[in-house]
């Protein structure tokens, strides 16, 4: 019984994905090309990496709005360090990722220490991080990165872009840890019932802190890849990312109220977002229509899911006699 239900939720995003792919393929030969598929994968990979961390946060019953701005911050910081301070590339990247991880850790600690709602705390932090990204370099982007820095975001292994490979590896690890380790079990448990989890001896706060820290780490990693792809440290990067990845997760059946979700579903959700942008661009629809579609797909698909669940319960009811209709007064 349970298996059935979970599977449906997990694969809703994949069903939408198939429908969208068929649709765009029918209308555009360009969309159908293999090279375009690879382009889509490359486009979604950075958001996907961030979304892996977000799945953990959402399943644990939290939310994180500060992940997007971490992209810009990490990239600007690392670029600045390597271009202007002469710090070796590798070290600069590590420091960038480390800084994002610290932001994540701070999110986790502030939420567990004060019990403030994560929505508020990470909303505040998103502004702080955005500001920090501009302030550390006077609001200017950092250009002329070392050549070797481009491989990470722009290189290929065979036909596959490196960011895609990183995304796949992280998604696989993320799925394994979520489903098959005691830590993953703990994330589900605290997202479903925090008090019962605490009384069962789980260290609820430690799990929460870990969830935000990992999300920060992955946002840092995404930031470095983004910098490499843009060939610059752009402080404004990731302005819409926080919302995009939340939509991706929710499309993928990750419950915004905690305790439910999967990496497989999220990957489907993120791909739906990528296919939509790509397909509509190819069809020549401007950015505003893309926004419209993203929003519409979210509301329609999630709305349909909830509606179907309520409907199922009511379907069997019949009005016995005409008097029965009087109830609707």
């Amino acid at each position: 019984m349970r298996k059935m239900k979970i599977d449906v939720k997990k694969y809703v995003s994949w069903i939408i994905l198939v429908v969208l792919v068929l649709f765009f393929s029918a209308f555009s030969p360009r969309f159908r090309q293999i090279s375009n598929a690879i382009t889509i994968l490359r486009q979604v990979s950075i958001n996907g990496i961030l979304a892996v961390g977000l799945v953990y946060v959402l399943v644990s019953g939290g939310i994180d709005l500060s992940l997007g701005p971490m992209l810009g911050f990490t990239g600007t910081l690392a670029a600045m360090l390597m271009v202007e301070n002469g710090i070796p590339i590798f070290a600069a990247c590590l420091i960038g990722i480390f800084a994002a991880t610290l932001f994540g850790l701070f999110n986790g600690l502030s939420i567990t220490a004060t019990n403030m709602p994560p929505l508020i705390s990470t909303l505040g932090m998103s502004y702080v991080i955005k500001a920090a990204a501009y302030l550390i370099h006077g609001g200017m982007p950092v250009y002329s990165l070392p050549k070797e820095m481009q491989t990470l975001g722009q290189g290929y292994v065979g036909p596959i872009p490196i960011p895609v490979i990183i995304f796949v590896v992280i998604a696989l690890i993320g799925a394994f840890v979520l489903k098959r380790t005691s830590y993953g079990r703990g994330v589900f448990a605290i997202g479903s019932n925090q008090e019962a989890s605490r009384l069962s001896g789980l260290n609820v706060k430690r799990i929460q802190v870990a969830v935000y820290t990992v999300a920060g780490f992955l946002a840092g990693l995404g930031g470095i890849i983004m910098m490499s792809r843009l060939n610059a440290g752009q402080p404004g990067t990731g302005a819409d990312t926080s919302m995009d990845i939340i939509i991706g997760c929710v499309l993928g059946g990750v419950s915004a109220s905690g305790g439910e979700g999967s990496i497989v579903g999220m990957v489907g959700g993120v791909l739906v977002m990528g296919v939509l942008s790509n397909g509509m661009t190819i069809l020549g629809l401007n950015e505003y229509y893309q926004l419209l579609m993203k929003g519409a797909v979210l509301v329609i698909s999630v709305g349909f899911d909830y509606y179907a669940r309520t409907r199922k319960a009511e379907k069997t009811v019949r009005i016995v006699r005409s008097e029965g209709k009087k109830e609707k007064e």
Partner: protein
Amino acid sequence: MEKRTLLSMRNISKQYPGVLALDRVSLDIYEGETHALVGENGAGKSTFIKVLAGAIRPDEGEIELDGQTYSHITPALARHLGIEVIYQEFNLMPTLSVAENVFMGNYPKRYGIIDHREMERRTDEIFQSMGVRIDPRAAVSGLSMAYMQLVEIAKALAKKVRILIMDEPTAPLTAGEVEVLFQLMDKLHRQGVTIIYISHRLNEIFRVTERLTVIRDGCKIGTFRTGEMTREQLICQMVGRELNETFPRNTARTEEVALKVEDLSGNGVEDISFELHRGEILGFGGLVGAGRTEIMRVLSGVDARTGGRAWLEGKELSMKSPRISIREGIALIPEDRKRQGVVLSLPILENVILPNLKLVTKYSVINRRKEGALVSEQMKALRIAAPSMRQLAGNLSGGNQQKVVLAKWLLSRSRVLIFDEPTRGIDVGAKQEIYKLMCALCEQGASIIMISSEMEELLGMSDRIVVLCEGRQEGILKREDFSQEAVLALASGNQ
């Protein structure tokens, strides 16, 4: 004496995934009567009243009231018809005031603006008619369970209630409060209100109801005049077999001290001292609010300690967090199962494994075969009735949920188990099983602390009883001194 049939429910069926909760149940309720619905947990009583209240729609059947026939009832219709339910789980808004809750949905208004003064005055009136004193302006979140119950009843009275359905209303109440409730029901009865009453406490059913209907496994067994039945006959009808309501005797008590508690304070309770012997069932008696649950939460590391010490098998307990206490061998089986005992949206398997993840992991990777084997072993040993270990805890009856909680602690080999109201909301048959399990645990060398508000259970199961009153320890009774009077005398501080 022919009475007019007020409500007639015919062939009501309701199918849930995997369970037929109601199987063509028909029932006539007379106007003005007090009618009991009895049956074991999971028999279908709650489903039945939810149908009547419009909380769920039946798959089949019809409901006739005032000559109208309905296929189902909606919450709005129920309210229009004067059907009010007081559920086991309260439907109160904790952040609002008592008065706002009582008049929820039909606030008295003046010029379109809520008239708070009028609302508070009328709330006060209702409370006066009930014979209780509650400040209408107090926030509901600050009230005890018993008072929340009274607010629920006031809420029903604030509307023109014709059929009042009460689902286990006395469960959170003390003896004195139960008396108030019964007087209140009597008053309503005289005013012509029809009452449908659900309770596991058979004494209450004999005391307050005129007729009763027995439901077993989703089927109606029969409707009887309460006065024409004996207690034994009723139990027999409920469980479908003869059942002795005696308590199994615990014979495992040793002279060896397992747990020693000295001047333990915290959570509003002060200076609790006792020794728990190995294999003993130590009862904790007292009125609701005497501090029994509170001090046990301190002992098991859930709430902070302000003073005192405790030793388990010679080792001092740190009482810092549930996590540490579990490791040290103390397990708490909380009163509020649904919120604190199990995670309703997770399957049995994951619930049982939750505190025992260390047993089945290597480098924190879960060995699925091993956890499956351990859990199925526990399910068999405890006779947890579920089609599989993948069943969600939320779909289980109260008795089976309690067994899931127990399975957690059996697996973690806890030395001291603290049962807080071990059989609250659990039916007669499953109760016996829980009692037997408690004795079996003592046989195996564990020791048990049992908080209970059910006098029979407390006297029947305990080897000794510690009685608390208003946050203080009033005394410890030995088995030879056990009597209802002795416990009550200590509990009310008359010593």
